[in-house]
């Protein structure tokens, strides 16, 4: 057995805890998870059945953690997991799963399949079976602060530009303010309009906030690649900065897995609760709306629809907030089929969008959203995740669909009173 296989198998063993054991025991092989999976639905290929994506981990559990399996193993029976198995499963674990969470939601016996995929990736990355793009992204994140390299000069330049265009002072490393704002690399590098939008909204609402030059990056390659050590380090950077600046809260950006990382996995990763609150930016805007501190003027009359990011809605719990905000500024807001908690993924989450080997499959999977958008025929699609934004734009262009995509924070800023 090679050292890397042994490392991977040990990492997988380590992931098999009581919930995982009970999930494997409970699975009744009903196949409902397949019906919920974007990749199975759009290809019809049974290998994309979510529970099947976990077969190597299931086999380890069966061979080593069950009485019957152990007895069989002693007699030389029971299929062992080989190096080839892990290589074969890379596509199933990374390219064809966005960890969107639909399978978990429909499982009749309550198996959290998505969480098991997350755990399975721990073994895959340990054995050297993670996609090269995620490995390279993790390296850049570790060494230079973000999966896109060192973005501090870009952020600094954007801050300066925003101050010039709005006359609003944007704090960096200011202690004692209410909130620390973090962004996603995609926002700093591509959708930087959000910085000005946020500065204007928060200024108007009288919310004090700051960026941190040490922690402004919300993405977390550790979550995507499946490495709790990396994930812990990246979350710790934000936690340390928030504690140093003594803020009351951290505003999680329009980025799906950033919210998953900081809000839901974070305290478990670092082994303690935070002395501050984590709030998603859209959640905060909705609170400001309720308090009468976010006031808008005018209405967008264009036909708009909304794309729910899986990690923020289905797996994050933020469902009504964006809709209350949209209804404030849009009078022709039309939902797509399955909108809300059971929304379909854009196809790029969970690291899939960065894996070049997954591009063709991802675009095929996008056909689900394509049909849904065609049925509504919107002029604009609004969302609250910069990566969904990016994948939607890319996929729409691939299918020659000329529809604008916009982040919700940016849309709200457009209709800000006295804007």
């Amino acid at each position: 057995m090679s050292a890397s296989l042994e490392k991977g198998l040990n990492a997988l063993r380590e992931q098999i805890d009581a919930p995982v054991a009970s999930f494997f025991t409970s699975c009744v092989s009903c196949g409902i998870c397949a019906e919920a999976c974007l990749f199975y639905q759009e290809t019809g290929d049974p290998k994309y059945t979510p529970i099947h994506k976990l077969e190597p981990m299931r086999r380890i559990w069966s061979n080593e953690f069950t009485l019957l399996g152990r007895a069989k193993s002693m007699l030389g029976m029971g299929r062992k997991v080989t190096e080839q198995d892990l290589a074969d499963w890379e596509e199933l674990v990374y390219d064809s799963c966005t960890m969107c969470g639909r399978c978990t939601l429909v499982c009749p016996v309550g198996n959290d399949i998505t969480m098991m995929i997350r755990k399975m990736r721990e073994g895959m990355s340990a054995s050297g079976n993670a996609p090269e793009e995620l490995v390279a992204g993790a390296k850049r994140h570790w060494e230079k602060g973000s999966p896109m390299g060192d973005l501090l000069p870009a952020l600094t330049a954007h801050v300066k530009n925003v101050e010039k265009s709005t006359g609003i002072q944007v704090n960096v490393d200011k202690k004692g303010v209410d909130y620390l704002v973090i962004l996603s690399a995609q926002e700093v590098a591509v959708y930087n309009e959000v910085i000005e939008a946020l500065a204007r909204i928060l200024d108007k609402a009288g919310v004090s906030w700051t960026f941190s030059s040490e922690a402004f990056e919300g993405t977390n390659v550790g979550i995507q690649i499946g490495s709790k050590d990396l994930a812990r380090e990246f979350v710790s950077r934000t936690v340390n900065a928030a504690e140093k600046l003594k803020v009351k809260g951290v505003i999680s950006p329009e980025c799906g897995h950033a919210y998953q990382a900081l809000r839901w996995e974070g305290p478990n990763l670092i082994g303690r609760t935070y002395p501050f609150e984590v709030v998603h930016v859209i959640e905060l805007l909705d609170r400001l709306r309720a308090d009468g501190r976010l006031k808008t003027k005018g209405m967008d009359h264009a036909k708009l629809t909304f794309h729910d990011p899986c990690q923020i809605n289905r797996r994050g719990g933020i469902n009504h907030e964006p809709r209350r905000l949209l209804n404030m500024v849009a009078d022709n807001f039309t939902e797509t089929e399955d909108a809300g908690t059971m929304n379909w993924c854009c196809g790029g989450g969970g690291g899939v969008g960065s894996n070049e080997s997954a591009t063709e499959l991802r675009l095929q999977a996008f056909q689900r959203k394509k049909r849904q958008f065609e049925a509504v025929a919107p002029e604009k699609i609004v969302t609250m995740c910069a990566y969904c934004h990016h994948i939607l734009e890319e996929s729409l262009e691939h299918y020659d669909m000329d529809i604008e995509v916009q982040g919700l924070t940016e849309l709200m800023a457009e209709y800000l009173e006295d804007a």
């Binding site: 390279a136 992204g137 896109m148 060192d150 000069p153 330049a157 690399a185 995609q186 590098a189 591509v190």
Partner: protein, 110 residues
Amino acid sequence: MAYQVNGQTVEHDEEGYITNLGDWSKELAEVIAEAEEIEMDDERWEVVNFLREYYDEYQIAPAVRVLIKALKKSMGPEKGNNKYMYELFPYGPAKQACKIAGLPKPTGCV
């Protein structure tokens, strides 16, 4: 691996991106373009110049979306679009044009 320009040797990585960004010159850009089988004209220079100015301010290569948006303004919608950019740089306005502009290979988010 290296480019030869004016009797000087300029090192590049296995994909052709120069190792030391300070080594870039207009002459070098022509040499890299030639290696890429691209002939530099005014429009290609406009893209390359934009990339260099952007990099100078933000220390990152602009995303294709940012590049197209800017070129739409300067070149008009006829030319400032994705399709036309691929005509100019068949291997992608981000990757190929950045290589000629002497910038690091663009990276993506996850």
